[in-house]
C-alpha cells in the first residue's frame, strides 16, 4: 500500500486542501480547515483546532499524539470522542502520532492512555460540542438548552424539522477559539471547566465496538512500520558487539565487497552498519562483515548471583518511601512472631515478537522518519539531537510495529535508520534481526526484595518493613539510545526509577514502611545490560514478595489467605470488592494453606494475590498442578477480577486482561535473561522460551464497571498479581515456598527439598 502524507504545514498554506491520509482506518479522503496552530512542539493545545477538525461531510478528524500499540486503545479513544460529540463512531477518524499535526500528549505507556489522553480528548471534544451548539443556537434561533444532537445533527427539542448538521455549521472552517490547556504531556489538563456528558447518557462508551485496526491484520493489508516502503529506499542492518558497547578496532570492508547489491559500510564513531540494495543483501553483509571490537571497558556480571549481590550491597542513589508510619523498632520488639524473607526477580525481555523497524529519509538538515515509537515527539527530539538539526525539521510519522510493552519508548532503530540514511543520502529501511532484539532489548531490571513482618500474640500483623532494591531504567529521556551513545553522546543521569508500588501499601498495618531503593547501574557512560520500563514496571517483583509474605503469615497462623487479607484491606473498599469478586468467581472455599498432602506425584493447589497499580485494582486466583517428581508446574486456570473505574470498551479490556494473564504466566514460569561475563546467552526463542499454546491455562475474568469514576488504565495492571498468585498456589499444592522467579522445575525441586 502506498503511503502518502502531507504535513499540516503544507496544508496550512491553502484552504480546503484535499488530503489523502494514511491510517488503520484505511485510506480516507478528507478536507481540512485552514489552520495556523503549529508550534515547534507539535500543535498548540490551547487552540481547539489543534485537537480536531470537522469536514463538510461531518467527518471528525482527531489529531492525537497517542498511538495504537496493539492494545486497541485508539479505538477506545475514538469512542470517547464520538460519545462526547454525539457523532457515530464511524465518523471519527484518528490521525495519530504525526509530529506535524498532533498535539504532544506524551508517550503512550504505563496504561495511562485512556486515563489521561482519553480525558484530554474528551474535554477537547466537549469544548468543540459546546462551540458547535453555540453556532447552532444562532443559526436555528433557539437557546442552547433547547437543542439536542443526534449523530452530528443539531435540532431543536420539540421541533425536529429545525436542524443543522455539524458539517454545515463548521465544515471546512476553523473553530477559531482558544481553550484552556495547562501542563504538558500526560499531565496536561484540557478545558477542565467545560462540563462533559453525564456517564448515564453514554451510548458509545461502554460498548464493545470492534477494533478498527484488526480486519487488515488478518489479511496482510494492514501497514506496519515493517511494511513502509518509499521510492528509492535502501535496506540497512546494524552490526553491534556481543556484550557492552565498545569501539570497532578494525572494520574489514573487503569482507563484504563481493555481496551483490552492497552499497556502503556505514561507520560513524563506534556505530557500524551496512546498507544494501535489497534486504537479503543487507542481512548477508551484516553477517559477513568482519569487525574486531575493543574489549569493553565495562565487564558483564558473571551471572545473576553477582547482580543480586550487587543490588544487595550497593548504596542506593534514591530511596522512594511511599508508606512510613508508626514505629517499626518498637513494633518488632513487641512481636511474638517474626518473618523475614528475600525474593529475587530476574532480568526479563519485553520480547517484541517482530523486531523493530524504521524508515528514515535524511536530506541535508531535514528528515522524515516512519517508525513504531511509543513517543513520536520524544523520538523526534532524540534524533534531532543526534543529527544536530532543529526538531521542527523532522517530520515523524507513527506506523505501528509489533507489541512493545514499554520497549519502544526507547526507539533505537529509528536512530539507526537516520544515521544510515544520512550516510548514503537516500531513504533507508532498517529492521533489527532476532538476535539484535534479544541482545539489545532494554530489559526489565532485576530486583532484590526483602520483607520483614511481625505478628503480636493475638495473631495481628503489627510490623511490616518492605524493601525493594532495583536497578533503574538506563534507557530514559535523560540518556542517549544506542546509536547516539555510539557516536559519543553521554548519559546525563543514573536513569529513571523502577517504581515503588506493590510493596504491601494496600494493607493497613499499624507500623509499616515500604521503601524502593534505586541502585545505580549506568556507570562510566555505559551499562552492563540495558534496562527500561517493562509492562507494569517493578510491580510484579514487589507484589510477588509482598503477597508471598502475606500468604506465608496466613499459612503460619492457619488462617484462610483470603480471610487473612480482608482483615487489613481497609484503606479502599474497591480492593476487598475486587478480591471478593475474584474468589466468588473462582469458587474459593475457606481453608488455610497448604492443601492436605496429595498421595501421588501430582499435587494441586490454589493461590491468591491482590494488587493496586495506578489505582486500577486486580485480584487473581491461580490453580496449579505441580509434578513433585519433576518440578513441572502447570497453570490450569487463572480467575481475575478487574476494576479500572469507567470501562470504555469491555471486550477490548478483556482482550488486554487475557493477554496480561498469559504474559504473566509466561514471565512467572519461563522467562529469565541468562548471561555470563562473555555476554547474554539467550538470543532466540528456544533459549528464551515464552508461553505456547499447550501451556495456556483457562481464564475467567470479572469486569467491575464504575461509571461514576474516571476511566483508569487497563493495559498492564492485570499482569501484576499473576506471579504471586502462582507462587502461592505452588505453596498451597506442595508446601514449598518459591522465592525466585521464574519457577523452573529445578527451582521447584529445590524448594520441595528445602
Amino acid at each position: 500500500m502506498e503511503t502518502k502524507s502531507i504535513s499540516r504545514r503544507d496544508l496550512l498554506k491553502s484552504t480546503g486542501v484535499l488530503v489523502v491520509g494514511f491510517s488503520f482506518f484505511g485510506n480516507v479522503t478528507r478536507v481540512l480547515a485552514q489552520g495556523d496552530g503549529l508550534s515547534v512542539d507539535g500543535m498548540d493545545p490551547t487552540v481547539l483546532d489543534s485537537w480536531l477538525a470537522i469536514s463538510k461531510d461531518g467527518t471528525v478528524t482527531v489529531f492525537t499524539g497517542k498511538v495504537e500499540l496493539g492494545t486497541g486503545v485508539v479505538t477506545a479513544l475514538a469512542q470517547i470522542v464520538a460519545e462526547e460529540l454525539d457523532v457515530s463512531f464511524n465518523k471519527v477518524y484518528m490521525d495519530s502520532g504525526d509530529t506535524d499535526t498532533a498535539v504532544d500528549q506524551g508517550v503512550t505507556a504505563a496504561a495511562r492512555t485512556v486515563e489521561r489522553g482519553g480525558v484530554q480528548l474528551r474535554q477537547a471534544s466537549a469544548a468543540a460540542r459546546q462551540e458547535l451548539l453555540k453556532l447552532a443556537s444562532a443559526r436555528l434561533d433557539s437557546p442552547v438548552d433547547k437543542l439536542t444532537v443526534t449523530d452530528g445533527v443539531v435540532s431543536v427539542i420539540g421541533s425536529p424539522a429545525k436542524k443543522i448538521a455539524y458539517g454545515d455549521l463548521l465544515g471546512g472552517k476553523r473553530f477559531n477559539i482558544k481553550i484552556v490547556a495547562a501542563g504538558v504531556g500526560w499531565d496536561m489538563k484540557v478545558a477542565p471547566e467545560v462540563p462533559a456528558k453525564d456517564p448515564k447518557d453514554y451510548k458509545v462508551v461502554g460498548k464493545s465496538i470492534p477494533r478498527v485496526d484488526l480486519p487488515g491484520k488478518f489479511t496482510g493489508e494492514f501497514v506496519y512500520s515493517q511494511d513502509v516502503t518509499v521510492p528509492g529506499m535502501l535496506h540497512g542492518r546494524v552490526v553491534r558487539p556481543a556484550t557492552s558497547l565498545s569501539a570497532p578496532l578494525s572494520v574489514d570492508e573487503s569482507s563484504v565487497k563481493n555481496i551483490p547489491g552492497m552499497v556502503k559500510v556505514v561507520r560513524e564513531g563506534n556505530f557500524v552498519g551496512v546498507v544494501a540494495q535489497t534486504e537479503w543483501a543487507a542481512i548477508q553483509a551484516a553477517r559477513a562483515l568482519k569487525v574486531t571490537w575493543a574489549e569493553p571497558t565495562l565487564k558483564m556480571p558473571s551471572g545473576s548471583a553477582e547482580v543480586f549481590d550487587y543490588l544487595k550491597n550497593t548504596k542506593s542513589f534514591k530511596d522512594t518511601v511511599p508508606t512510613n508510619r508508626g514505629n517499626l523498632d518498637v513494633a518488632f520488639s513487641q512481636a511474638q512472631k517474626k518473618y523475614e524473607s528475600t525474593y529475587y526477580f530476574p532480568f526479563q525481555l519485553h520480547g517484541m515478537f517482530g523486531p523493530p523497524c524504521a524508515v528514515a529519509d535524511v536530506r541535508g538538515d531535514k528528515a522524515t522518519i516512519w517508525t513504531g515509537t511509543q513517543g513520536p515527539f520524544r523520538t523526534r527530539d532524540a534524533i534531532a539531537l543526534m543529527l544536530k538539526i532543529p526538531p521542527k525539521n523532522i517530520h515523524l510519522l507513527y506506523r505501528e510495529g509489533s507489541g512493545s510493552y514499554g520497549r519502544l519508548e526507547s526507539d533505537d532503530v529509528a536512530e539507526d535508520a537516520a544515521l544510515m540514511s544520512r550516510a548514503v543520502g537516500k531513504p533507508v529501511r532498517v529492521q533489527w534481526m532476532r538476535e539484535d532484539e534479544h541482545a539489545w532489548d532494554p530489559k526489565g531490571p532485576a530486583q532484590y526484595s526483602t520483607v520483614r513482618a511481625g505478628v503480636d500474640a493475638q495473631g495481628k500483623v503489627i510490623a511490616w518493613d518492605y524493601m525493594d532494591r532495583s536497578l533503574p531504567w538506563s534507557e530514559s529521556e535523560a540518556n542517549p539510545l544506542l546509536a547516539s551513545s555510539q557516536i559519543g553522546m553521554k548519559p546525563t543521569g543514573p536513569g529513571f526509577l523502577n517504581g515503588a508500588s506493590g510493596g504491601g501499601q494496600i494493607y493497613s498495618f499499624e507500623n509499616q514502611k515500604v521503601l524502593a531503593a534505586s541502585i545505580p547501574w549506568v556507570q562510566q557512560g555505559q551499562w552492563p545490560l540495558r534496562t527500561s520500563n517493562l509492562r507494569a514496571p517493578g510491580d510484579l517483583a514487589r507484589v510477588f514478595a509482598s503477597e508471598s509474605t502475606i500468604d506465608e503469615i496466613a499459612s503460619d497462623l492457619h488462617v484462610d489467605p483470603v480471610q487473612f487479607r480482608l482483615r487489613y484491606l481497609t484503606s479502599d473498599k474497591r480492593i476487598p470488592e475486587v478480591l471478593m469478586a475474584t474468589v466468588k468467581k473462582a469458587g474459593w472455599t475457606d481453608r488455610p494453606s497448604p492443601a492436605p498432602a496429595s498421595t501421588g506425584n501430582i499435587a494441586a493447589g490454589r493461590g491468591v494475590a491482590v494488587a493496586n497499580r495506578a489505582n486500577t485494582m486486580t485480584a487473581a486466583v491461580a490453580e496449579v498442578e505441580v509434578d513433585k517428581s519433576t518440578g513441572d508446574v502447570t497453570v490450569k486456570k487463572i480467575t481475575l477480577a478487574h476494576d479500572c473505574g469507567l470501562i470504555v470498551n469491555p471486550d477490548g479490556l478483556k482482550n488486554q486482561i487475557e493477554g496480561n494473564i498469559l504474559q504473566g504466566v509466561s514471565r512467572a514460569l519461563l522467562e529469565e535473561v541468562q548471561f555470563d561475563a562473555t555476554g547474554q546467552k539467550n538470543l532466540d526463542w528456544n533459549s528464551y522460551p515464552v508461553i505456547r499454546f499447550q501451556q495456556v491455562p483457562d481464564v475467567e475474568i470479572v469486569l467491575i464497571n464504575r461509571p461514576e469514576m474516571q476511566p483508569l488504565g487497563g493495559g498492564e495492571p492485570s499482569i501484576v498479581p499473576i506471579t504471586a498468585a502462582i507462587a502461592n498456589a505452588i505453596f498451597d499444592a506442595t508446601g514449598a515456598r518459591m522465592r525466585q522467579v521464574p519457577f523452573t522445575p529445578q527451582r521447584v525441586l529445590s524448594a520441595l527439598k528445602a
Partner: protein
C-alpha cells in the same frame, strides 16, 4: 542471480533474484506481499508461514529456489478485508488479536489444521499451533476463532 518462476496465490510470477534468498524476502520485497512477516529468521516463531503446495513452511528458512514451479499461498491468497476467508472472518468476530504481528502464522496454521481436521478439539488446536508464538497472549481468542469456524456450517 537467476530467474525463478513461482505460482503465488494462483498467479504465475517470475522474479530475478539470488536463488538462495529465503522465500520470505522475495514475497515481501519483490512481490510486495506483506502478509508473511519476519519474526525471527530462525523458523522458531511462525510469523513467516506460507503454504507451499498444501504444506505450511517457514518462508524465512526456505530458499526461493526450493519453491520454484510450486504453488505458494500467502495470507493474501486466503481473502481480503472486503472478501475475507471464513477463518479471517472468524478471527475478526472473536477479535482474536492484539498487535496482530503473529496473525499471519495463526491464520495460516489454522488453515492447515482445518484442511486436515475440520473439527479439531481444543487439545488438537493447542497441539497444532504450539509452534506458533504469540507474545501479546491472544491464544485463547485464536482457539475460539478456530472453534467458531469448525462449528459453523461455512466450509473453511
Amino acid at each position: 542471480m537467476a530467474r525463478i518462476s513461482l505460482k503465488v496465490n494462483g498467479k504465475s510470477r517470475v522474479v530475478e533474484t539470488d536463488p538462495d534468498t529465503p522465500l520470505l524476502y522475495v514475497l515481501r520485497g519483490n512481490l510486495e506481499l506483506h502478509g508473511p512477516r519476519f519474526g525471527c529468521g530462525l523458523g522458531q516463531c511462525g510469523a513467516c508461514t506460507v503454504m507451499v503446495d498444501s504444506n505450511t513452511v517457514r518462508s524465512c528458512m526456505l530458499p526461493v529456489s526450493a519453491a520454484e514451479n510450486k504453488s505458494v499461498t500467502t495470507l493474501e491468497g486466503l481473502g481480503s478485508v472486503a472478501r475475507p476467508h471464513a477463518i479471517q472472518a472468524a478471527f475478526v468476530e472473536e477479535q482474536a488479536a492484539q498487535c496482530g504481528f503473529c496473525m499471519n502464522g495463526m491464520v495460516m496454521g489454522a488453515k492447515a489444521l482445518l484442511d486436515k481436521n475440520p473439527h479439531p478439539t481444543v487439545s488438537d488446536i493447542k497441539k497444532s499451533l504450539n509452534s506458533y508464538i504469540c507474545r501479546c497472549g491472544t491464544h485463547l481468542r485464536v482457539i475460539r476463532a478456530i472453534q467458531r469456524v469448525s462449528n459453523s456450517s461455512v466450509k473453511a
